[in-house]
């Protein structure tokens, strides 16, 4: 049994390889499609855009070599996790990314947990009260939140909680200059995390609530629910044990698929809240047209998504014993 799981894991990891290769190819392709190259931009920024200087930069970056050579060099570097250098910041891309990744991961993971937990609770509550006012209220709210742009919601939350009520910080990850350590530091981060995480999560709360409600209603139509009732279980026990575990499967699947979308959302939310994560890095890279950095971020985020899918597969196996990892 354990060996089968291990085999499955190895197989899944091997499946990632073509995905990685495809992303590399796409990166390279996009880089070549860009009008002008880094040398042009950099030379322009440095204020001496002479032909010789630009050519010199090209040579330095290896952009004067034949295309296929550039491709293999790029690939070769990736094998050692070398995503190239941000020519504007004079720093390896991977260093810049790894510096920001933890903040983004904290934000994303908190949001996923929040979104799934709230979505499940609300979805179950709505399904158990199908057709009542509470059910309609939850459904309407979900529909409205589902239509709200996350970045705007973030701004409005700042208006409400930071400006009008003045109870939560409007941005940043830590109180600047407080020099907190240990638990106090963690608490401070958590305090700053509330609004951005809530902003990022709410859209997904809406999705999972709707999905969970539909999924629960479907499970309620299955025979084993009647069995559970015939056994004398209470409706609460049935909802939270027999129905929930079965109804959770589609939600888990979607949460895995959407982990990548969450990363996109975090770009916006991090911009709104000045959260020092990958999203901000994207924004800075955008402003400076630092394509190497942008592509590096695209690469790393895809890797994060692929890993998230892997984790979801494993969770799925835990939730549903019928799934045998072949």
């Amino acid at each position: 049994m354990r060996q089968a799981s291990l085999l499955f894991l190895v197989r899944r990891l091997l499946q990632i390889v073509p995905v990685v290769l495809a992303i590399v190819a796409l990166n390279f392709f996009l880089l070549r499609m860009a009008p002008g190259d880094v040398a042009d931009i950099l030379a322009g920024q440095m204020g001496h855009a002479t032909a010789e200087f630009t050519q010199q930069l090209r040579q330095e970056f290896g952009l004067d070599r034949p295309l296929y050579q550039q491709f293999f060099i790029y690939m070769g570097k990736l094998l050692t996790f070398d995503l190239g250098v941000s020519h504007l910041q004079q720093t390896p891309v991977i260093v810049l990314i790894l510096d920001r990744l933890p903040a983004t991961l904290i934000l994303m993971l908190t949001s996923v947990v929040l979104a799934v937990a709230l979505g499940v609770v609300l979805g179950v509550a709505a399904a158990r009260r199908e057709g009542t006012i509470a059910d309609s209220l939850i459904s309407v709210l979900a529909l409205v939140v589902y239509a709200t742009p996350a970045f705007w919601l973030g701004l409005m939350l700042i208006v409400l909680f930071s400006i009008k009520l003045d109870i939560l910080p409007s941005g940043g990850m830590i109180q600047i200059g407080a020099g907190l350590k240990g638990a106090a530091y963690a608490l401070d981060v958590a305090w700053h995390l509330i609004l951005p995480a809530a902003t990022l999560a709410l859209f997904y709360v809406a999705i999972y609530t709707r999905l969970m409600r539909a999924s629960m209603l479907e499970v309620y139509g299955l025979d084993f629910i009647v069995t559970a009732r015939a056994k004398g279980l209470s409706e609460t026990a049935i909802a939270w044990t027999h129905a929930l575990r079965n109804a959770l499967l589609p939600v888990v699947t979607l949460a895995g698929v959407q982990f990548g979308h969450l990363l996109g959302g975090s770009i916006l939310v991090e911009t709104v809240f000045g959260w020092p994560g990958l999203g901000r890095l994207v924004f800075d890279a955008l402003l400076q047209r630092d394509l190497n950095l942008l592509l590096g971020i695209l690469f790393v985020s895809s890797a994060v998504v692929v890993s998230a899918n892997l984790v979801v597969d494993l969770i799925y196996g835990l939730l549903d014993p019928r799934i045998v990892h072949k």
Partner: protein, 278 residues
Amino acid sequence: MRGLSTLWMRFRRNRGAVAGAVTLGLVVAAALVGPLLYPVDPFDMVGQPAQPPSASFLLGTDVAGRDILAGILNGARISLLIGVLASLAATVVGVAFGALAGYYGGWVDDVLMRVTEFFLTIPSFVLAVVVVAIFQPSVVTVTAAIAVVSWPSVARLARGEFIAQRGRDYVQGCRAIGMPDWEIILLQIMPNALPPVIVVSSLMVATAILTESGLSFLGLGDPNLVSWGYMIGVARTVLRTSWWMSAIPGAMILVTVLAINLVGEGLNDALNPKLRKR
């Protein structure tokens, strides 16, 4: 025709869908005739900056003294235009992929679906940001970027429909009489496979509008056009003093997207009455 009228009957019974349709109609009308009836250039500085809504400026002015109402009306055009165009493009590409993969199966299916899955793996908003950044923001690149990240879900759906249809008797019959594949795909199967695709495409307009607003909020919109997301991005700098300046365009996005979603769900329920929960 009979089918359409029953469809309309079912759609009309759904109160949310009707409310959505009416709201959407108003937004579309505002986009079409608004700038004609209210011919103020949204880039012109027409008054003191950051005025709250008043009689002279119904929705106030922004940080550069531009008329927000003019921006809202012109922004409606951009949002709807990009939303619809991007969904159309994504639908065409997605249906083409899905139809070929579903109809032919085998290695064609394998290859096309690998490509589709690959695009589903890349975080869509990140890809859209990168694409727009590389090709410089304009209506065309923004539309293309949104289409590039939206088509895979259509492809999956269309593939499923084509797989379901290709084994049916009428398709076998068409093959038996030697009808060419393209004719079977386009004229025979397509009409049957299209209804669910239409629902997803119409819902995709809403997502596209959200994506567009996010892009232009980041400054990745067409610099020559005012869009709602751009207006929020500009207003953000004065959030502390003039929160309504960000609130108004955001509320417009919300209302428009909500209306499209309601219409899309109404369509879905009307097309699949059996799937409706009591």
